[in-house]
């Protein structure tokens, strides 16, 4: 008997390995003769390097080599531009990518200056203290609003200013419509930096085998295949000589797809120089200083509305902080620009942004990837308008939802995937209704809230909605193979960092081939097993790689049936596939197992027909024409302690439409984790830089991650399924849905709880301290 797995909460196939300590993470790789690296990093945010003296460090017993920009020779280089700017008219973009080791100048605290290679990490770190760097400190550019002033120090001195890019996108004509408005809401908003803080720090082990002329790299990357291709180019090797393995990763959330980190360019090269395996493991402080992070925008926004609360248009001008370099192009600010529009029918939109270089770590996507900022601006504008117009948060949103008959809905502006932003499908009103029902909105505001307020409790409710552009191209691949044992192996190029790919991809393949899911094993993130693909990002694993698995499995299924029909001398229509075998319908004794077929498909003697491709194997690729748009509504009830301003989230509802759900348990897990990160982003986590560009929150004691006490007491999820027409499985992504609207919801609910008409929260992260200040001001 074969059951169907798609749509079921199948228990994860990867769990046993992880639960018993048997899963391989990069730091678990230990090779004979391996050396370890520690980096000397800049203690200044902005300074010229006059001289670096490594002579004492080299004298230390156990130190094998010390590298600086000087002795890298020709290998010294700037990293590649990962995402070039989209084709938008009148766009300015200045490319400045990070270098392997700082040469004349450092541009952020934590920028690598020298690498010490030693017998172990302890010795390497000791030797860092022996390196003398003569710095000439320069004024640091920290404040976004001041970075473009004429007297600001120049971070890249060959540019006329600290402007990295400038983009204007328009839909309709905001200026023409503005005069017809009954109400204009105009405010400033800001969204400060936060970090991904995966529990596993970054790590790289490189092993150059000079006998085999082969480079093997274990890397905590979300994109092993692009790393392989890039390294081959940099090291002058063919792609076949470079194997990149991204084994189990301890979370990633975006920053691990930044390419190339300085360390990623350097460690393999050192291995080749010294002919020994080299390991570098990032420590937590380095992770704060030298792993990319995100957010960091200030918006000057304006919304024009009718008195019924219908949006006529939006005008938004914002600054985006890219940090010291901009290797990830414009992905983050474009996402903010596009996602701001949300699930609403906005006919007129003017959006202009400037990307600014500052003396901070580089900004690249982190879960949400620019979307939370856009959603924050939109949702706050709607909240303010609702107050003016005496509408409830859900009323004003529902009045502006795009209607089902308007899909595919064209937003006209260009999205991060270089294509005009089109929402493929959606049905927004039911998600709102369901959320209100799950949180029991009416009863809460009419009965419970007045009662609790009378008891002196600060208790409030909030409702927000959002869209999430997911599953963008270009493509991913999968290779499905049935072996002689009848077991099925699936190889994909996307790396895995906790998303349950081992299970969800296996569900798809097991359903197509009608085998037991336990007979399906998945290989991800090993470029020797699959060498075409892009990586895990933008909530696209299931959409793009999932559909590639489906296509490859379908191709293998076809091969199976064709071969079986020849052997069993029966037409394909007359065959039945199931339980790892094929039999003739109604004649269970006339059968052949998949294992037997696999052997027949790979004959060792005799002749095969011309054009035969051996084996029960097929590779297939999937590339969607454009992204699939998920959407949802979050609602929450919170209680604020009047003395400490601690916020307890008593109830949290997520109604989400990610198309067809492959594994509800996994989707819910993604949402729980996403919400927790969004809550952290809203009230606990903040990367605080002082005026000199020193990061004041570079440890887990200063940068507060949400604990079991800070997350919602219970998240209740409701699913709506509007299948995407853009892919055969009908799926959409879900990885970022929990995070995107959480901060917007949090502040709305807190405002409602505090019931102070003058309180207006227009910035995140909030914190009890900052909220206290705002309350005092109001």
């Amino acid at each position: 008997m074969t059951t169907s797995y798609i749509g079921e909460s199948v228990k994860r196939l990867e769990d046993a390995r992880l639960l018993t300590g048997q899963a391989l993470f990069v730091d678990d790789v230990h090779l004979p003769k391996m050396l370890e690296v520690a980096f000397l990093r800049s203690s200044y945010a902005h300074a010229r390097i006059r001289k670096i003296d490594v002579s004492e460090a080299l004298k230390k017993t156990g130190v094998v080599a010390v590298y600086t920009a000087q002795n890298l020779g020709d290998y010294w280089q700037a990293g590649p531009l990962l995402v070039s700017p989209p084709p938008i008219k009148r766009l300015t973009f200045h490319k400045k990518t990070q270098v392997i080791l700082a040469k004349d100048k450092v541009r952020y605290v934590g920028e690598p200056i020298a690498a010490v290679v030693a017998e172990n990490r302890y010795i390497a770190e000791d030797a860092l203290n022996d390196i003398i760097v003569d710095f000439e400190p320069l004024p640091a550019v920290v404040d976004l609003e001041k970075a473009l002033l004429p007297d600001a120090a120049l971070i890249h001195e060959d540019l006329p200013s600290n402007l990295a890019a400038h983009v204007i996108q328009e839909k309709g004509n905001y200026f023409a419509i503005k005069d017809q408005a009954d109400l204009i809401i105009k405010r400033d908003f800001s969204y400060d930096h936060g970090a991904a803080v995966a529990m596993e720090n970054r790590a790289i082990v490189a092993d150059w085998d000079s006998k085999g002329q082969q480079m093997t790299v274990w890397d905590t990357t979300q994109a092993p295949i692009p790393i392989m291709n890039g390294l081959a180019g940099m090291l002058g090797l063919s792609e076949n000589q470079v194997r990149v393995i991204a084994p189990f990763l301890g979370g990633a959330f975006g920053p691990k797809i930044m390419m190339f980190y300085s360390e990623e360019m350097l460690i393999p090269w050192i291995s080749k120089q010294l002919g020994r395996p080299i390991k570098w493991i990032e420590d937590r402080q380095e992770n704060f200083l030298a792993t990319t992070h995100e957010r960091g925008q200030t918006h000057h926004a304006e919304m024009a509305l009718t008195k019924e609360g219908k949006i006529l248009g939006i005008h938004d001008v914002f600054l985006h902080d890219t940090g010291a370099y901009d290797p990830y192009g414009l992905t983050v600010p474009i996402n903010s620009q596009c996602t701001l529009l949300g699930p609403y029918d906005v006919k007129n939109y003017y959006s202009e942004f400037s990307v600014i270089f500052t003396n901070k770590m580089i900004v690249t996507p982190y879960r949400g990837a620019g979307r939370p900022q856009g959603v924050f601006v939109m949702e706050r504008l709607l909240d303010l308008a609702a107050k003016e117009l005496h509408l409830t948060p859900s009323e004003i949103r529902s009045r502006n939802f795009i209607l089902p008959e308007q899909f595919p809905y064209k937003n006209e502006i260009i999205y991060q995937d270089f294509a005009p932003l089109v929402y493929d499908s959606g049905n927004y009103a039911p998600a709102m209704e369901k959320a209100l029902e799950l949180i029991d909105y009416k009863k809460f505001v009419e009965e419970e809230q007045p009662k609790l307020r009378a008891e002196g409790k600060n208790i409030g409710i909030g409702v927000v909605s959002y869209v999430e552009g997911t599953g963008i191209g270009p493509y991913e691949g999968a290779k499905v193979t049935v072996g002689a044992s009848g077991k099925v192996s699936v190889a994909t190029g996307v790396g895995t960092q906790g998303q349950s790919h081992f299970t969800t991809f296996a569900q798809i393949v097991a359903d197509v081939l009608k085998v037991n899911i336990h007979d399906v094993t998945l290989v991800t993130g090993d470029t020797f097993k699959m060498n075409w693909g892009c990586g895990t990002f933008a909530s696209r694993g299931m959409v793009v790689a999932g559909n590639a698995c489906y296509a490859a499995a379908m191709a293998v299924r076809e091969k199976i049936l064709k071969l079986a029909s020849e052997i069993l001398e029966s037409s394909i229509e007359n065959l039945e596939l199931g339980d790892s075998k094929v039999c003739v319908k109604g004649m269970p004794e006339k059968k052949i197992t998949l294992g037997e077929l696999a052997v027949k498909a790979n004959p060792l003697r005799g002749a095969v027909k011309p054009g035969t491709i051996p084996g029960l194997e097929a590779a297939a690729y999937f590339g969607p024409s454009t992204g699939a748009t998920s959407n949802g509504v979050h609602a929450a009830i919170v209680e604020v302690n009047p003395k400490t301003l601690r916020v307890d989230i008593l109830k949290y509802i997520v109604v989400h439409d990610c198309g067809k759900v492959i594994n509800p348990m996994v989707v819910e897990g993604q949402i729980h984790g996403g919400v927790a990160q969004g809550i952290g982003n809203a009230y606990y986590e903040q990367l605080v830089y002082d005026k000199k560009g020193q990061l004041l929150t570079a440890s887990l004691m200063d940068y507060l991650l949400p604990t079991s006490y800070d997350v919602p007491r219970k998240i209740i999820t409701g699913h709506i399924e509007t299948p995407s027409p853009l892919n055969p499985l009908g799926v959409k992504g879900t990885g970022e849905a929990g995070t995107i609207p959480a901060a917007s919801l949090f502040v709305q609910a807190v405002e409602n709880a505090l019931d102070n008409p003058k309180l207006e929260i227009r910035e995140v992260p909030m914190s009890p301290n900052r909220l206290f200040e705002l309350l005092k001001e109001s």
Binding site: D27, I123, G250, Q499
Partner: protein
């Protein structure tokens, strides 16, 4: 440079005799000297709880202890929780059934914290569970499913209490 001290440490029931530098962290000793890489390291400053192991039955953070401090003591790591992948400890089973792990990096630390907790408190309330795990950070799950898993584990472990007592050594 080397100034080595002989130590004898029992890890998961196996006696190891090694010579170590006094500054070698217990976490590095377990992971790199003994090759028991199931214990992970997330912060090396005692906050995240990822590196938690049992030290004579009590949970400790192995990243802020030295290997020499373990001389003459008994350590249990995640590798000591079950015989193999086919025979999971009820707590491990509960984690899988309730989807209490995603990337799984934090999981060994949670398991070791919770083994000791459930031993002390076999019938915990939700609030007590929340407190018990408040020193362990998980960035993936949002904790909800971990709390559910602990409730389920308590039920399972109460049903098979004897096995647990036999498998692990407590003070």
């Amino acid at each position: 440079m080397s100034n080595l001290f002989p130590i004898t440490v029992t890890v998961n029931g196996v006696v190891y005799q090694k010579e170590v530098e006094p500054r070698l962290l217990l976490s590095d000793f377990l992971r790199h000297t003994l090759g028991l890489t199931g214990t992970h390291v997330g912060c090396e400053h005692g906050v995240c709880g990822v590196c938690t192991v049992l030290f004579d039955g009590r949970p400790v953070r192995s990243c802020i202890m030295f290997a020499v401090q373990a001389n003459g003591h008994k350590i249990t790591t995640v590798e000591g929780l079950s015989k193999d992948m086919e025979h999971l400890h009820p707590l491990q089973e509960a984690f899988s059934e309730k989807h209490a792990l995603q990337c799984g990096f934090c999981t060994p630390g949670f398991l070791m914290t919770l083994i000791a907790f459930l031993h002390e408190n076999p019938h915990p309330t939700e609030e007590q569970i929340r407190e018990a795990i408040s020193g362990n950070i998980c960035r993936c799950t949002g904790y909800q499913n971990i709390i559910e898993a602990v409730k389920l584990a308590a039920i399972k472990m109460n049903a098979s209490r004897e096995n647990v007592a036999n498998e692990l050594s407590f003070p």
